[in-house]
């Protein structure tokens, strides 16, 4: 049994890292907003989903008018990524302005409820537009970067099987890593990043220090949502088919990743995302084997939630977070 598990490890790692980078970048959005407002932005998964749809639409549009032949695919993808990021970023800012800012002093239940509401509205608007223009809400994007590479992991050691990689994996991985590094630099090295950290620490004191709190929060939403939307595009490129309901469960898992890494901690979110992706792929590949056929791959979502609950119970501050005590 152990042999079989080890054999599949290269493939599990590759699939896990692909999924993990997606989780990681979405988790960034959750973690940034939570760090600053202590609010679970339920709508974040839907922003990711909207990004996937905007991106796919643009890609279809560009391929339709023949840019694909005129431009290298990678340039086209970058253009689409940037446009999508800006649009979803603005969407995130709009949501904050409309649905969260007026409720900053309301009981904590209330903004959570609007967040759920926003999620639903976004799902249905996207479904509606997709159905109206395409006839179905399940949309398949153009095939880009489909070359398969075979990674000869068996040549490293005979205990491994070979693993196959889609070319898009490399693109997803590189783009996601660039985005994460960019964010890390932004938060730690720039003036606005510093303001952001200040607001996350203590909103009132920051505002006394002439930090424009509303602006910082808006920027946080913009960046988080832009990253989420761009990840949506990457997701669509990697997995091909999207529908308006992908955001919810994926968002939930990305949130799990954020909690796993330590909510409010940006590097934690990256770590948590990658870890969760690999763990989930490992589970879906080996659960049947490990439990002697009792639990199959269909339990992989259960597995992810089990991680979330375990972390919250036994290490609520996550892997990289600091324990918090409530002020009395």
């Amino acid at each position: 049994m152990l042999n079989e598990i080890i054999q599949t490890i290269p493939q599990v790692l590759i699939d896990g890292l692909t999924l993990g980078t997606v989780y990681a970048v979405i988790a960034l959005g959750y973690t940034m907003v939570y760090g600053i407002l202590e609010l679970i932005n339920f709508a974040h998964g839907e922003i990711f989903m909207t990004g996937a749809f905007i991106g796919t639409t643009l890609l279809l549009l560009f391929t339709g008018i023949g840019w694909i032949s005129a431009l290298p695919a990678i340039v086209m993808l970058l253009t689409v990524l940037i446009i999508t990021a800006v649009l979803t970023g603005l969407l995130g800012m709009g949501i904050e302005r409309l649905a969260y800012r007026p409720l900053r002093h309301a009981p904590r239940l209330i903004p959570l409820i609007t967040a759920i509401g926003i999620s639903f509205v976004l799902q249905d608007i996207v479904r509606f537009i997709a159905e109206l223009s395409k006839g179905s809400y399940i949309v398949t994007g153009p095939n880009l970067f489909t070359n398969q590479l075979l990674l000869k992991t068996s040549s490293i050691s005979s205990i491994f099987n070979d693993a196959s990689i889609k070319a898009s994996f490399v693109i997803v991985l590189v783009t996601a890593v660039v985005m994460m590094i960019g964010l890390d630099i932004f938060v730690n090295r720039t003036k606005w990043g510093m303001a952001m950290r200040a607001v996350a620490q203590d909103r009132e004191t920051a505002s006394l220090m002439t930090v424009n709190v509303n602006k910082v929060i808006a920027i946080t939403f913009f960046i988080g949502s832009a990253l989420g939307g761009a990840t949506g595009v990457l997701f669509a490129v990697q997995y091909g088919t999207i529908d308006p309901y992908i955001g919810f469960i994926l968002g939930l898992k990305a949130f799990t990743a954020a909690v796993l890494g330590g909510i409010g901690n940006i590097r934690g979110a990256m770590l948590g995302g990658l870890l969760l992706g690999v763990l989930e792929m490992f589970a879906s590949a080996n659960l049947t084997l490990l439990t002697g056929g009792v639990f199959g791959a269909e339990y992989k979502d259960v597995f992810a939630f089990a991680i979330l609950i375990t972390v919250l119970l036994f290490k609520p501050e996550g892997l990289l977070g600091k324990p918090a005590t409530e002020k009395v």
Partner: protein
């Protein structure tokens, strides 16, 4: 006879020491004040006694029974009740309901009793309402019984917290800055109220307070904390003239200059 004894109480938050080896003894039916500059660890001290924080080390004895390690609701059951520095009322509930919640541990109603609305339960509820009303009357809020707690004035909210704490019928009452934000008239009324309570309910009162006039007037014993350490304790007149205390409050230059 001591009712509450605290021995070597230490609380650390990560690397930060909030209180260090604080010991004190509180006599039954006395009024004790805990004073000290901001950040001296006074509220942390209260939070440890009431079970909200677990002390890093040290012992808390109530009538010679160890109570540290107990959950806050068990501490309340054991006979310690408190008010909060940053008022914590049940805002959307009515004034009378707030006091009724204070009686929680003394009501015997169980699941089935409530479900079948047994006469015993109805009688108990009625009596609880009467007692709650009596306590409201006692702190001067009887005419506001149906008002939502959040609609009360600041001073009234402080008094409601006291009524709610009294409803638990405690042996020891902890008041965390009861006079904060009150005007002189309200403070005077409060002083009177604390005296009355102690006498009528045979209560032991421990309070944290910054209003020195009130502290000196009301307390029989004063404990001074500074940076988490007990720097002095004694009768009001001793504390007033204690150079260490003056130094803690006014800075090191003050004593030499004076």
């Amino acid at each position: 006879m001591p009712i509450l004894e605290v021995q070597n109480l230490t609380k650390k938050f990560g690397g930060l020491t909030a209180t260090q080896e604080v010991s004190m003894t509180v006599e039954k039916s006395s009024i004790t004040a805990v004073i000290g500059p901001n950040g001296a660890g006074k509220t942390t001290f209260f939070n440890m006694i009431t079970g909200i924080y677990q002390p890093t080390s040290g012992i808390i004895l109530l009538e010679n029974e160890k109570i540290n390690g107990l959950k806050p609701h068990d501490v309340s059951k054991a006979g310690i009740s408190r008010t909060f520095q940053n008022i914590r009322l049940f805002n959307q509930m009515s004034v009378l309901e707030n006091v009724l919640v204070g009686m929680h541990t003394h009501l015997k109603a169980g699941l089935l009793g409530i479900l079948f609305n047994l006469p015993v339960i109805r009688k108990e509820e009625k009596e609880a309402e009467m007692h709650a009303y009596h306590l409201l009357d006692y702190v001067g809020l009887a005419d506001l019984l149906n008002e939502k707690a959040t609609n009360l004035s600041y001073g009234a909210q402080r008094r409601l917290e006291i009524a709610r704490a009294l409803a638990a019928n405690p042996k020891v009452l902890l008041l965390d800055e009861p006079a904060a934000g009150m005007n002189p008239k309200e403070t005077k009324d409060l002083t009177e109220l604390i005296h009355r309570m102690r006498q009528e309910f045979n209560l032991t009162v421990i309070l944290i307070e910054h209003d020195m006039k009130l502290v000196m007037e009301i307390s029989e014993h004063i404990v001074v904390l500074d940076h988490g350490v007990k720097i002095a304790e004694g009768k009001p007149e001793d504390i007033r003239n204690n150079p260490k205390v003056i130094e803690a409050y006014l800075g090191s230059g003050a004593v030499q200059a004076g």
